[in-house]
């Protein structure tokens, strides 16, 4: 039977893997992180339906993990690719978890005893996890992972509490990385994106001002399974945020940062504003935009509804700067209140607005290791660092046999990514099928 490699197990990779597996192809699904799920797992709800992200994603993750034609390789990375369409030789490094996947039940008893606390990457450092951890509560596979950098035992040979409490005997400090050699007909690249680190935009004060956060951080804050249990609390003092400013195009449509439009941020911000209102009907949100973009199905109605009914005000104007209310300001006692300065485009005058929380809509940028992966795969990237395709041939990369989908191609919303994933699956399946149809393929 023909095999296909899918790199990246976010929603695009999952969909591509399922579509391929359901066509009878064997799929190796390689994911760098300890769990499949990708960015979507970090989202609270999804626009324009406000569907609970986990509710719709989790069943797909489980389908993926149970599918007889899919082998998920989590905590694994592709290291080398050689050959050509129909005969790619791929080396995958399966990193040591120091936990036996076949024994671990994901019960978390070990984590409750682990003394070492570190920032939780899944929650963007807004909460803490232990050195042995479950990547997130609905992780697939539901197994623990030891962070070798943080584990006292692996670092200094002391502790080992986790091994003591694990009744399944799953802790294995001797575990080594595993190298897998795969032979596949086609490769689907679905490695997704990163969020732009807005630090270079010093005028917004990110990381300098505690109440200036990114849209993804906001997402974790408002998520019921997030660090605050879904309460929208200001990082500075844990007080509820009542007035929220959304700073669009943070790094996007900017020739010195990312000159493209990140596609999803307008509707994403409006969704986040809507959620604020759902949690607290007194919440007011202001969306500072350049163009308010939402041409997807149902988006414009969603935006109009938010403006009419959910306390969302749209302000035309890109934010120039964010300050913090200083000690001598009018609102005594209020500290760390971000003040947004912008041009009120309708009057042409500078205006300021104090808010409880300023949320930066940071650009979607190529994954940090995209250049490395492009080198390994031998595919061309476009001028922005996303995987390059030709017009009217949306799934094919520059190297025959390798196709791509999702945000590694550029910013895209979830339905776009899912549709692209199916398209990539179609092309990959065509390639695999092309090879069996003449029935002259030699045994490898």
């Amino acid at each position: 039977m023909n095999e296909v490699l899918v790199i990246g197990a976010g929603i695009a990779g999952i969909q591509a893997a399922l579509d391929l597996a359901e066509q009878g192809l064997r799929v190796h699904l390689v994911e760098r992180l300890p769990s499949i799920g990708g960015r979507m797992a970090q989202l609270d709800k999804t626009f324009p339906t406000n569907d609970c992200s986990t509710c719709i994603l989790a069943p797909k993750m489980v389908d993926c993990s149970r599918h007889p034609n899919i082998v998920p390789h989590t905590y694994s990375e592709v290291e080398a690719v050689e050959g050509e369409a129909g005969q790619f030789d791929v080396r995958v490094r399966k990193r040591a978890r120091y936990v036996d996947e076949t024994r671990c039940t994901g019960c978390g008893e070990c984590a409750s005893k682990c003394p070492r606390k570190v920032p939780d990457a899944f929650n963007l450092g807004l909460s803490q996890r232990r050195a042995i951890y479950l990547y997130f509560p609905q992780a697939v596979p539901m197994v623990m992972t030891i962070d070798p950098e943080q584990c006292t035992y692996l670092q200094r040979g002391k502790c080992g509490l986790c091994a003591q409490v694990c009744e399944a005997g799953a802790i294995d400090f001797e575990q080594q990385d595993l190298l897998l050699d795969l032979c596949v007909d086609a490769i689907v690249v679905a490695t997704g994106f990163d969020f732009y680190n807005p630090a270079p935009l010093t005028q917004y004060g990110y990381q300098r001002y505690p109440n200036v956060i990114t849209a993804l951080e906001y997402e974790r804050l408002i998520s019921a399974s997030g660090p605050t249990g879904g309460h929208l609390l200001r990082p500075s003092d844990g007080q509820p945020a009542k007035k929220i400013g959304f700073i669009q195009c943070t790094g996007s449509r900017h020739v010195r940062h990312n000159r493209y439009c990140s596609t999803v941020c307008c509707v994403h911000a409006i969704k986040e504003a809507t959620l604020a209102w759902e949690h607290d009907h007194d919440a007011d949100s202001y969306v500072f935009y350049t163009d308010l973009r939402g041409s997807g199905k149902g988006f414009r109605e969603y935006m109009d509804r938010a403006g009419r009914a959910y306390g969302v005000t749209y302000v035309h104007g890109r934010v120039a700067q964010i300050f913090e209310l200083g000690p001598g300001s009018d609102s005594a006692g209020e500290t760390h209140k971000p003040v947004i300065r912008y041009e009120d485009a309708t009057t042409g005058r500078v205006a300021e607005m104090a808010v409880d929380l300023a949320v930066l809509a940071t650009s979607l940028v190529p994954a940090h290791d995209a250049p490395l992966l492009a080198g390994i795969l031998g595919i061309d990237m476009d001028e922005y660092g996303f995987v390059k395709t030709e017009p009217f041939s949306p799934a094919d990369t520059s190297r025959p046999g390798i196709v791509a989908c999702g945000c590694c191609l550029g910013p895209a919303d979830i339905p776009q990514s899912v549709a692209q994933a199916s398209a990539a699956a179609a092309r990959a399946a065509e390639i695999a099928w092309e090879l069996v149809r003449p029935r002259h393929r030699e045994k490898g």
């Binding site: 064997r26 149970r66 032979c183 041409s295 109605e301 042409g348 949306p394 799934a395």
Partner: protein, 631 residues
């Protein structure tokens, strides 16, 4: 060996042999339920908080329970073996496992039952970890009492479980693609390359759809004509594709695996039957005509973007245009159509640039509300247009542009007329501009094709409030309909850029291929079934079903009747009864709730099974003579 098997984790996720078809196990319940209960310690996770020994003792005392055991990890190989062995040794015909959650582990234990020859639907899961020991860590005694109730409920349900069959259906490995535009041709091509035969049905005499009316395509000025011609040639050359042009679908019967379309061919002047396992809808959309707006219809200098496009491709434009004004969102984001047309901004930019490149002296103004160019390349395209000198002016909907003077300057070259102007209030400037125009181009949104609703009715799939086809799920199933076996791509779903439409078409082909790749598909066992003699044919169930899984068939009944013709003796009456298509049913059970006669049975979640759990949950343990253990 490819090492494939050996690398796979052994337990979770649960694995089955590569063959997709699973083994059907015939063994069902005997006369009396013989229930085995297996209670998991989950290491410390359950046993650390609950009194497992007491749970075993109380389980043993429940009706029909012939065996109750505990194990450290029921999901381990040892634990699974324990179940398999017990099924054989104790002749168990129902298995209850009390451990973690069915959401992750049910298939694992079901497979163990399968392997021991017990129908997998005779397995019952009781969640005493995630929903008991983990959430009542401080109160082991009450938690144990709760677990005992939960196990009693599980056993009560298990006693009523019935073996279920997973229906298999052979798939006709052929597709019908409705719509022969770029999307339809792309989908057909992909499916053909996958080895499936395809019937491509196009209403017009020629393939190509709306792209045939275009001049060049963004973002790289590909010639629309050439692109279409190449695609048509590829489709025509593909032996697996049968093309029916001048043909329209007039009726659809059947469902996934076996659709039969009746196609009326104007070419052959007859109705042709088309058999297919799946249907792909790629009927596209068309430009809305803004009758009466901005003088469109009576002022010849006012045209739509598509009309401009046609003139560009025929060269039928005055060479000395001095000023062209384009108005965006005409009939979009307003009372005519509340949605954004998605493609119109780019179309306007492209045409503006062509005009500008052809004649740099020509002023091109684009009056817009929000520039909808998202993503990487489109944003660059916008920058290019500005660079070329196209002027973008923002207007607000409460002060829309106004056309003064009835005629553009290019209206009559011989006799100059007072120039027409477009007045537009630029909010950002705080001023009203008066822009002269020779040509006023209106950007209007795409709207569904006529006949889309009728097609939707034939296919029994929904359309949205605008008349576009409505997908199964906005986020995760953009190319599927809720009804299995029917797929969707291109502007029939929502206005799409050509690149997107092509991607969706490939995607729809992949979705269709997931069905066509299988010789047969298998339903879940958890589907509704109909007790035909009870069915009154009232159709309440069909109204409740979101998946079109219930159809009504006429059956004949002999009756000794009827009324007036008393002496006729036995006669035959036709009665309508419901039939559930197990391939389409998703097992939600909504039909059973509305059925007035209990003819509709929600398998695996029947009224009796749920009632038994309710009673078991609330039964005073003493009343059952149940062993309380130490509690």
């Amino acid at each position: 060996m490819d090492g494939f098997e050996s690398r796979r984790p052994q337990r979770i996720p649960q694995r089955r042999p590569w063959s997709i078809t699973q083994q059907q196990t015939a063994r069902g319940p005997g006369d009396d339920p013989r229930i085995g209960v297996f209670i998991c310690h989950c290491g410390h996770n359950i046993a650390g908080y609950l009194d497992v020994a007491a749970l075993v003792a109380s389980a043993r005392s429940l009706p029909f329970v012939v065996l109750a055991q505990d194990s450290l990890f029921t999901c381990s190989d040892a634990g699974l073996n324990q179940i398999r062995t017990a099924i054989a040794e104790h002749g168990l015909n129902r298995v209850v496992v009390a451990s973690c959650t069915p959401r992750t582990h049910e298939p694992l234990f079901q497979s163990a039952c399968d392997e021991a020859g017990l129908n997998r639907y005779l397995f019952e899961f009781v969640n005493i970890r995630d929903q008991c020991s983990w959430v009542h860590m401080e109160d082991g005694e009450r938690a144990t009492r709760k677990a005992r109730d939960l196990i009693r409920m599980g056993v009560a349900r298990a006693a009523l479980l019935q073996p279920l069959t997973e229906t298999e259906l052979a798939i006709q490995p052929a597709a019908a693609v409705i719509g022969g535009g770029m999307a339809g041709m792309t989908a057909a091509g992909s499916l053909a390359r996958r080895g499936f035969s395809v019937t491509l049905i196009e209403r017009e005499p020629a393939l190509g759809g709306s792209v045939r009316h275009l001049d060049t395509l963004y973002p790289n000025r590909t010639s629309a004509r050439k692109l279409v011609e190449a695609q048509v040639a590829a489709v025509r050359a593909e032996p697996q594709i049968e093309v029916l042009t001048s043909a329209e679908v007039t009726a659809v019967r059947g469902s996934i695996g076996h659709f039969e379309l009746e196609v009326e061919s104007r070419q052959y002047r007859m109705k042709l039957p088309v058999q297919a396992g799946v249907v792909v809808v790629a009927t596209g959309a068309e430009e809305w005509k803004p009758a009466g707006m901005y003088g469109y219809g009576h002022n010849p200098a006012v045209i739509t973007q598509q009309e401009l496009e046609e003139r560009l491709s025929t060269g039928d434009l005055p060479p000395d245009l001095r000023s062209v004004v384009m108005i965006q969102c005409v009939g979009a984001r307003d009372a005519h159509h509340p949605y954004c047309g998605r493609t119109c901004c780019l179309v306007a930019m492209k045409n503006a640039m062509i005009l500008k490149e052809g004649n740099p002296a020509c002023q091109v103004h684009v009056l817009y509300r929000d520039i909808e160019v998202y993503g990487t390349h489109f944003e660059d395209y916008y920058a290019q247009a500005r660079e070329l000198g196209v002027v973008f002016t923002r207007y607000t909907p409460d002060r829309p542009p106004e056309v003064v003077g009835d005629q553009g300057r290019a209206g009559d070259k011989q006799t100059p007329v007072p120039p027409g102007r477009v007045l537009v209030y630029d909010e950002l400037l705080g001023a009203t501009l008066a822009i002269p125009y020779d040509l006023l181009v209106l950007s209007t949104p795409m709207v569904p094709r006529p006949g889309a609703r009728e097609l939707a009715q034939m296919l029994k799939v929904p359309v949205d409030e605008h008349g576009f086809f409505l997908e199964a799920h906005v986020k995760l199933r953009p190319l599927d309909f809720a009804t299995d076996g029917i797929y969707l791509c291109g502007s029939a779903h929502w206005p799409a850029h050509l690149d997107e439409a092509i991607g969706q078409a490939l995607g729809a082909a992949a979705r269709a291929a997931t069905v066509l790749s299988k010789e047969q598909i298998r339903s879940s066992g958890i589907v509704s079934r109909v007790e035909e003699s009870l069915c009154r044919g009232c159709e309440r169930c069909a109204t409740a079903c979101e998946y079109g899984a219930i159809e009504f068939v006429d059956v004949t009944r002999s009756v000794e009747f009827l009324h007036r013709p008393m002496a006729r003796g036995l006669e035959t009456v036709h009665v309508k009864v419901a039939r559930v298509n197990p391939m389409l049913c998703k097992g939600c059970g909504a039909c059973a709730v509305v059925c007035p006669t209990s003819a509709m049975v929600a398998s695996h979640f029947t009224g009796e099974q749920v009632a038994a759990m309710i009673r078991a949950a609330l039964q005073a343990p003493a009343a059952m003579g149940e062993d309380h253990g130490t509690l």
